[in-house]
């Protein structure tokens, strides 16, 4: 997803100026996607260049320009909602690549790499669960609550995947008869080191 589509979706609710867009974007996505107002204005400028938004009038007394969505902007928004999101999950991919490299790099304690990640992901999951409880107890902002759910599911999936990796690594190690027994797990939080 791009900030572009996020802003288009917010403008579909009605004309808004930059600061409002930033505030509403953060309300919808919680703290998960902090935006600075500069990013908002840069994106608005590009959207205006592509004629997907247009100024809704003159600047107000405080110099703020209100933007509105255009018909091509609406079409683009509709297209976005119709299209599936392609997986370009950078952090997750980085983890997969890191694990793949850990397995194939001599001297790396894969179990420690997995555990370091597991502990970090679990902490994230604990924090998300707290936020979700607070969201459920509060006014019940559905949008924010659903974003949190998505993050919870992702963290949970990552934990399962880490378990899976560990099991497979253990099996592979057991299959290699000439390998020495797995080293004891080092101090928690330790980075994987080359021996």
């Amino acid at each position: 997803m791009s900030i572009r589509h996020g802003l288009l979706a917010l403008l579909e609710r009605g004309p808004r100026y930059g600061y409002q867009l930033r505030a509403e974007f953060e309300t919808a996505t919680g703290a998960t996607w902090p935006l600075n107002v500069g990013q908002v204005y840069t994106t608005l400028a590009r959207l205006e260049r592509d004629e997907l938004v247009a100024p809704a009038g003159e600047a107000d007394v405080e110099g703020r320009i209100t933007y509105r969505i255009t018909d091509p902007g609406r079409a683009e928004l509709a297209r976005w909602f119709r299209s599936p999101v392609t997986r370009q999950d950078a952090p997750r991919d980085e983890l997969a690549i890191k694990l793949a490299l850990a397995v194939t790099t001599p001297g790396v304690d894969v179990v420690a790499v997995v555990q370091t990640q597991r502990s970090a992901t679990m902490t994230t999951l604990q924090e998300l669960t707290r936020l979700r409880t607070r969201a459920d107890d509060g006014a019940g902002d559905l949008a924010w609550s659903l974003v949190l759910d998505a993050l919870v599911f992702r963290a949970e999936a990552e934990m399962r995947w880490l378990d899976h990796c560990e099991t497979r690594v253990a099996r592979a190690a057991a299959a290699r008869v000439d390998e020495p027994a797995a080293a004891p797990v080092p101090a928690p939080g330790a980075k994987a080191v080359r021996r």
């Binding site: 555990q115 604990q126 924090e127 399962r160 928690p188």
Partner: protein, 242 residues
Amino acid sequence: MSEPLLVLRDVHRSHVQGSTTVHALRGVDLTVGPGELVAVMGPSGSGKSTLLHVAGGLDTPTSGEVLVEGRDLAVLSAGAAAAVRRRSVGYVFQDLNLLPSLTAAENVALPRELDGVRGRPARAEARAALAEVGVAELADRFPDEMSGGQQQRVAIARALVGPRRLLLADEPTGALDSATGEEVLRVLRARCDAGAAAVLVTHEARHAGWADRVVFLRDGTVIDSSGPVAGAESLLPSGGGR
């Protein structure tokens, strides 16, 4: 932190299986205070259930200390240890928690009656405990008239009835669907927020997410722990006392 409800100090537990000795626990340290929900995770055979059994006095450590509300179970007589176990600790298992021939209120009142509390006050305590887990209206139902999630709530009420403040739970959500499991965890969390302490053995990361601290067990040793409040602790070397 106020006085811990549970302290495990350098706890070892080994048992002989045929010609080999199995070291189920090797030097586990764990402290759980009032208000804390601690989850224990680890692969099967890592010692999770043994940890829970030792913590609740259902099993005795080969060496090390187990203190429940400050009292060392190992130095007490068998009878005194049993009394501590019964009056201070409640258990919730995956299933078969409730006696099928008793109503919810009778099930919850039972441990108090065993404590010597008379029927009527015990029943009143049971109803209060049921209300605390949000199932006051189930008091007169029998277990087979309740859903799995409702039964687990009643089991939590029974575990924490009267003065009991330490709850030990072994996969309490194992037999439940995901949404019902969440509800049970929500109740557990609420009871801890109200001052109880719980140790939860689970393999579900989602449920461990409700804990203040998640302890990772492997080969009978705590290798790591996670949690927003335990950041510094997780940097301690394993086996280091707290």
